[in-house]
C-alpha cells in the first residue's frame, strides 16, 4: 500500500502539532495527514486501515474485522497515544486504551498523526504521540444528498460479508444574511 497522498506543503494546514492552525511545513512536530481524498481513492473504510499507512505507527488487529485493533506509536504502549475526535479525547476505559475496530471513515475529513511526546498540550496519555480525527464541516452552496443501498460480497471461502449502508448527508445554508445552519450526518451498518 502506498504512503498517504502528500499534500502541497504550501497549502496543507495542520492543527494538532500546536493546537493552532499552522502550515504543515512549519510544524515543529513530526506530522502525517491522511485526508478524505485518500479514503475515497483507496477505498479505506476504517480509520485503523488509514493509520496503517502512517510511518511510525504499528496497527495490530487480533482477528477479523471488528476484533480488538490497537495502535502503537513509535513502539510505545497503546495507551500512550492520545486519540481525539474534533478536539475531544476519546481514549477508552481507566487505562486509556483505544480500540479502533469500530471506527469507520464515514463523514471524516482527515486524520492528523503527531509523532513524539505531546503531553504538554494533550495530557499524560500523549506520551508517544497524538492522533486527531476531524469530521467534515458543512460549507458551500445548499446541497442535499441521500444515498442508500445494500451490498453483499461473497468470496471463494464461502464466508459471507454483508454490508448495508444508509448515507444521509445534507448541508443547509440559509440565504438570510449572517445565518448559517450547517448539518451533516451519516449512518453506516456493516454486518
Amino acid at each position: 500500500m502506498s504512503s498517504p497522498t502528500p499534500a502541497p506543503e504550501s497549502e496543507a494546514i495542520v492543527i494538532t502539532g500546536t493546537r493552532t492552525d499552522i502550515p504543515l511545513d512549519q510544524s515543529p512536530a513530526s506530522i502525517s495527514v491522511v485526508t478524505s481524498q485518500d479514503f475515497e481513492e483507496k477505498q479505506i473504510e476504517r480509520v485503523a486501515d488509514a493509520l496503517r499507512e502512517v510511518p511510525g505507527l504499528s496497527v495490530v488487529q487480533t482477528g477479523t474485522a471488528g476484533q480488538l485493533t490497537s495502535v502503537f506509536t513509535r513502539g510505545l504502549r497503546s495507551e500512550h497515544t492520545q486519540v481525539l475526535l474534533d478536539g475531544i479525547p476519546i481514549n477508552q476505559g481507566l487505562a486509556g486504551l483505544m480500540n479502533f475496530a469500530d471506527f469507520t471513515t464515514d463523514d471524516l475529513d482527515r486524520v492528523e498523526v503527531v509523532r513524539g511526546p505531546q503531553s504538554t498540550l494533550y495530557g499524560p496519555r500523549a506520551l508517544a504521540g497524538a492522533i486527531q480525527i476531524f469530521t467534515k464541516r458543512g460549507e458551500g452552496d445548499p446541497t442535499f444528498t441521500l444515498t442508500a443501498g445494500r451490498r453483499i460480497l461473497r468470496d471463494l471461502s464461502r464466508s459471507i460479508r454483508k454490508r448495508r449502508e444508509v448515507s444521509i448527508s445534507w448541508i443547509i445554508r440559509s440565504a438570510s444574511a449572517g445565518s448559517t445552519p450547517i448539518m451533516r450526518a451519516r449512518i453506516i451498518n456493516i454486518d
Binding site: 512549519q26 480500540n99 448539518m183
Partner: protein, 170 residues
C-alpha cells in the same frame, strides 16, 4: 457494527460558531464456531455514545476562544460462555470533559495559546457470576479518575519557514 456521527452547528455571524458533535457506535463481535454457523460465540458487545457541545468565538481577528464540553457513555458486555452457568461481565464508563483554549495573535509572528482541561471518568464493572441461588453472587466494583491541567504555549515565526514553539503545562 453500527456507527453514526453528526456535527451540527450554527453560525449567527462570522465570529461565532455554536455546535455539537454527536456520535453513536454499537459493535457486537464474536468468534463464529464454524463458517456455516455465523452466530458468534464469545461475544463482546460495545455500545458508546458521545455528545460534545462546543463554542468557537473570535471577537477580534487576533483573539480566538474555543470551549468544548463533552460527555460520553460506554457500556461493554463480554460473554465468553453461553453454557448458562457463567454470566457475562458488564462494564460501564462515563466520562465528562471540559477543554478551553484561547489564542492571542498580537503580531503576525507570535501566537500565545493557553487553556485548561478537566476530565472525570467513572468506571464500574460487574464481575462474572455463577447463576445460582447460593454461593458467589454478582459483585459490582467501581472507581473513578480525575484529571486537571493548564497549559500555555508560545509559537514564534520570526522568519519564513522557521517556527519555534515553547509550551508548559501543569
Amino acid at each position: 457494527l453500527t456507527n453514526a456521527i453528526a456535527d451540527i452547528g450554527w453560525s449567527p455571524d462570522t465570529t461565532l460558531r455554536i455546535g455539537t458533535l454527536i456520535t453513536y457506535s454499537l459493535a457486537d463481535t464474536g468468534n463464529p464456531n464454524t463458517i456455516f454457523d455465523p452466530k458468534p460465540l464469545d461475544n463482546f458487545l460495545t455500545e458508546r455514545w458521545l455528545i460534545g457541545p462546543h463554542i468557537d468565538w473570535q471577537p477580534v481577528e487576533w483573539w480566538d476562544h474555543h470551549l468544548i464540553v463533552s460527555y460520553d457513555h460506554e457500556r461493554q458486555l463480554n460473554d465468553p460462555n453461553q453454557d448458562g452457568f457463567v454470566g457475562p461481565t458488564r462494564a460501564l464508563f462515563e466520562r465528562t470533559q471540559v477543554d478551553y483554549q484561547n489564542d492571542l495573535r498580537p503580531t503576525s509572528w507570535l501566537t500565545i495559546t493557553s487553556g485548561f482541561f478537566y476530565s472525570r471518568l467513572n468506571a464500574g464493572q460487574e464481575r462474572p457470576f455463577i447463576s445460582q441461588d447460593f454461593g458467589p453472587q454478582p459483585r459490582f466494583v467501581s472507581d473513578h479518575t480525575e484529571e486537571t491541567g493548564v497549559f500555555a504555549q508560545l509559537t514564534l515565526k520570526p522568519i519564513a519557514k522557521v517556527c519555534f514553539s515553547l509550551a508548559v503545562a501543569d
